[in-house]
């Protein structure tokens, strides 16, 4: 593994972005080419990632190199530098692997779209930014990537910018993320103030040694880590900043799969895993874990009542992200990251299948208008089923392994967290199979017009699905054996020793998890396999869930409206119109008045000007000659 390899890995998507972004106009007539350029760029990265990964797996030393200094100042320096260790390698594989398949899928999915080349340009740019995020060897690089993926997320959510809801969703995502990013920035500032550097290695070493400036006393690291966690909350859609993610489903479905399920939203998890040393020292993992588990439960309950396929998947994503935070929060960093990996595959898969369904159903998302799709779209059905089984924790599929590990670790930390997690697992299995039964089984409720051209998606779309289904199902096997598994060994060097020793019988935990998962599936089967779901929510609790706990409305009333009113009446009417405009207009009026007097001098007659000039010269000369 060399520096050059990493540069190629990083730059390939940038090249793809530049080609599609700058020359898209000429590529318009040939959209396939544009799509393949995008996919090829990511393929190059994928190959490089595999090379990097295998060399690391073969025992090569992690790479931590500085390319060149970026900002140098008195006593500090920020560098463009890379760090490739086990954690980064895993992330690289996920990003480029899932990313490549989604690019290929998009070639078919986006067929005939107006902004075809623009789409691939954005997508490449996203991959580039995400790679920077995971490759950087300091917080500043990470932040650059962090903001870069935020930008791409905004651009892609609002991809169909002529649709009001899409632009609104984009803005919402951007603003909500901004809150989180602000926290991240503050966290970064804190770290910089304390350490005078943002390099991971330096910070971690000195944090362990305790040689840093205690700018907030003993709480320095606590404050820093919590602020960083605020960033993670925003980016990874946790309570209370999760509201943007469900709305983000306005973007093209492959985007939801890549950005809002597999990669970007997991950046927060990655960041905490990366900063594991700090969280261990500051002992703020509990906060993370609690936020995570509450989010997991909360989102899962909302998912129970939704009817929009993509929204269900979105809430499911929020919920699963909560699991990951539980994992990293209780100190089982490897487990959290492992769940990140498995989730990336199966959730990406499910989003893509949802896209496939949409493709067939003429962009219909309401599952009440579906049903019985199994016979029409067998491949889609089977691949979705694989994903659903995986997420539901069906024994020996990937979700089973990763979720079980997290729950196991959680038990060692707090039994309450474990309990909520277990309930959430049940809910997860339930809503996921509710989705399957309503969509793919039962009688068809499809509009006759749509039904007439209901079809399986083209090969360019179902092939990635099929390929993705395999790791979705099997990647969990890497975690076979819990804390002694291959995955844990591979990532051991990166993370500090877990201080909560996993206790209890591993097999017992597995059995309990399996039973809970299967129970959820069974419960869903009893309720939804035959019945047409009711349209109207019944009962107060159901209505509460269907309206997502009214969180959006509460935010609107508590935050948005006050800010809006404050801006309107105080800032605009009073400060801007009254004071600032008053000053500006006053100055202008004064100048205008003076100018009105002076303009009489400007007659437009050149010679009058010259006469004044000569007068000046005469006076000046006279003064110079006779009075000095």
């Amino acid at each position: 593994m060399s520096k050059e390899l990493i540069v190629v890995l990083l730059v390939a998507p940038l090249v793809g972005f530049l080609i599609n972004g700058l020359f898209g106009k000429w590529l318009k007539g040939n959209e396939k080419l544009s799509g393949w350029i995008g996919a090829l760029a990511v393929l190059v990265s994928l190959v490089c990632s595999i090379i990097a990964f295998t060399s690391l797996n073969g025992g090569a030393a992690p790479l931590d190199e500085t390319l060149y200094p970026w900002i140098t100042g008195e006593g500090f320096a920020f560098n463009i530098g890379f760090r490739v260790d086990a954690l980064t390698a895993v992330m690289l594989l996920v990003i480029t692997g899932v990313g490549f398949l989604i690019h290929v899928y998009s070639i078919g999915y986006m067929h005939g779209d107006e902004g075809y080349t623009r789409y691939f340009a954005y997508l490449n740019l996203f991959v580039f930014a995400m790679l920077i995020l995971v490759l950087g060897n300091n917080y500043l690089m990470m932040f650059v990537g962090w903001e870069g993926v935020g930008l791409c997320s905004y651009l892609l959510i609002g991809f169909w910018y002529d649709k009001q809801s899409a632009t609104d969703a984009g803005k919402k995502a951007f603003i909500v993320n901004r809150i989180g990013d602000f926290g991240f920035l503050l966290g970064m500032f804190t770290l910089f103030a304390a350490f005078n550097t943002l390099d991971f290695t330096a910070i971690f070493d000195r944090a362990e040694a305790g040689t840093f400036e205690q700018i907030f006393g003993a709480n320095t690291l606590v404050i820093a880590t919590l602020l960083l966690f605020v960033g993670a909350i925003g980016k990874s859609a946790q309570i209370p900043l999760y509201v943007w993610l469900p709305d983000a489903m306005e973007g093209p479905t492959p985007v939801s799969a890549l950005i809002h399920a597999a990669t970007m939203v997991t950046a927060g998890v990655y960041m905490i895993a990366r900063s594991a040393v700090l969280y261990e020292i500051a002992d703020t993992g509990q906060v993370v874990a609690w936020i995570g588990v509450l989010t997991a439960f909360f989102a899962a309950t909302i998912a129970l009542t939704q009817n929009d396929i993509k929204r269900i998947l979105a809430y499911s994503t929020v919920s699963q992200l909560g699991y990951m935070f539980v994992g990293v929060g209780v100190g089982a960093y490897a487990s959290g990251v492992f769940h990140l990996v498995t989730h990336a595959f199966f959730k990406g898969l499910m989003f893509l299948t949802a896209g496939s369904v949409m493709h067939a159903m003429a962009n219909e998302l309401d599952m009440r208008k579906m049903g019985g799709l199994k016979s029409k779209m067998p491949i889609t059905h089977w691949t979705f089923l694989v994903g659903a089984l995986a997420i539901a924790g069906f024994p020996f599929l990937s979700g089973f392994w990763s979720k079980d590990e997290i729950l196991h670790s959680a038990w060692g930390s707090s039994s309450l967290i474990y309990g909520i997690g277990l309930v959430t697992a049940f809910l997860t299995a339930f809503y996921m199979f509710r989705l399957i039964f309503v969509t793919f089984y039962g009688e068809s409720r499809v509009d006759s017009e749509v039904a007439s051209h209901l079809h399986e998606s083209p090969a360019i779309m179902w092939l990635p699905l099929a390929i993705l289904a395999i790791p979705s199902a099997l990647i969990g096997l890497l975690g076979w054996g819990g804390h002694d598994s291959w995955f844990h060994h591979f990532t051991k060097s990166v993370f500090p020793e877990a201080h909560h020793d996993a206790s209890g019988n591993v097999i017992l935990f597995m059995v309990i998890s399996s039973i809970v998962g299967l129970a959820g599936i069974a419960f869903a089967w009893t309720r939804y396999s035959k019945r047409v779901p009711s349209d109207e929510p019944t009962g107060a609790f159901h209505r509460l869930l269907a309206n997502k706990y009214y969180v959006d409305e509460i935010y609107n009333a508590l935050i948005v409206q006050p800010v809006k009113n404050g801006s309107h009446f105080l800032l605009w009417k009073l400060v801007d119109n009254g004071i600032i405009d008053g000053i500006v207009n006053g100055v202008a009026a004064l100048i205008r008045f003076i100018g009105g007097l002076l303009r009489r001098l400007q007659t437009g007659l050149v010679q009058v000007y010259i006469v004044s000039m000569v007068l000046g010269i005469v006076i000046f000369l006279a003064y110079y000659l006779f009075f000095t």
Binding site: L605, V611, V618
Partner: protein
């Protein structure tokens, strides 16, 4: 009175009369001709001062090229005497003449007092008779003043392009 003095008075008088004629004639053609006369008298003064090269260039550039351009434009635009429209007020004209007289007094004062400047005075006595040859000028021009010389060429180029742009655009607007 030696010949130099006679010639100086002759050329000086011609150039002054020519200059006054420039600003007195109503018709620009006559002004231009008077200006040519002035330039010639000046060339004569340059010869008196031993600056033969400058005198020749004066005639070639001013009389031979610049004034021909003036005549060309006057004839091309058929510029006659102007109408009285928008005439400058008499007061301003009178004021301008007074200013001119003041300026002349100051100029003469400077000229007379320049000799008192020690740098000028010391040099004057020593080298009254030195004639600068074309060779000297060339040597200075291409050694000490090489950069200004090159800059001048840029100025000329800029003027060339500027004129073409001005005139071309005017034509395009018409079309």
């Amino acid at each position: 009175m030696n010949p130099e003095q006679i010639l100086f008075i002759l050329f000086g008088a011609v150039s002054l009369i020519g200059a006054i004629a420039v600003i007195s004639f109503r018709h620009p053609i006559y002004s231009a001709l008077s200006l040519i006369v002035t330039f010639f008298a000046q060339a004569g003064l340059f010869v008196l001062l031993g600056a033969h090269f400058v005198a020749a260039v004066q005639v070639i550039v001013y009389a031979g090229a610049i004034m021909v351009l003036f005549l060309f434009v006057i004839m091309l635009l058929n510029l006659g005497t102007l109408s009285a429209k928008g005439a400058m007020s008499r007061k301003l004209k009178g004021f301008a003449v007074i200013l001119g007289i003041l300026l002349a007094i100051e100029g003469v004062y400077i000229a007379v007092n320049a000799i008192n400047d020690p740098a000028v005075a010391s040099a004057e006595t020593a080298t009254e008779s030195v004639n600068t040859t074309t060779y000297n000028i060339g040597e200075l021009l291409f050694n000490e003043y090489l950069l200004p010389f090159e800059v001048t060429s840029l100025i000329l180029l800029a003027a060339l392009i500027g004129v073409i742009v001005l005139v071309k655009r005017g034509n395009q607007e018409e079309n």
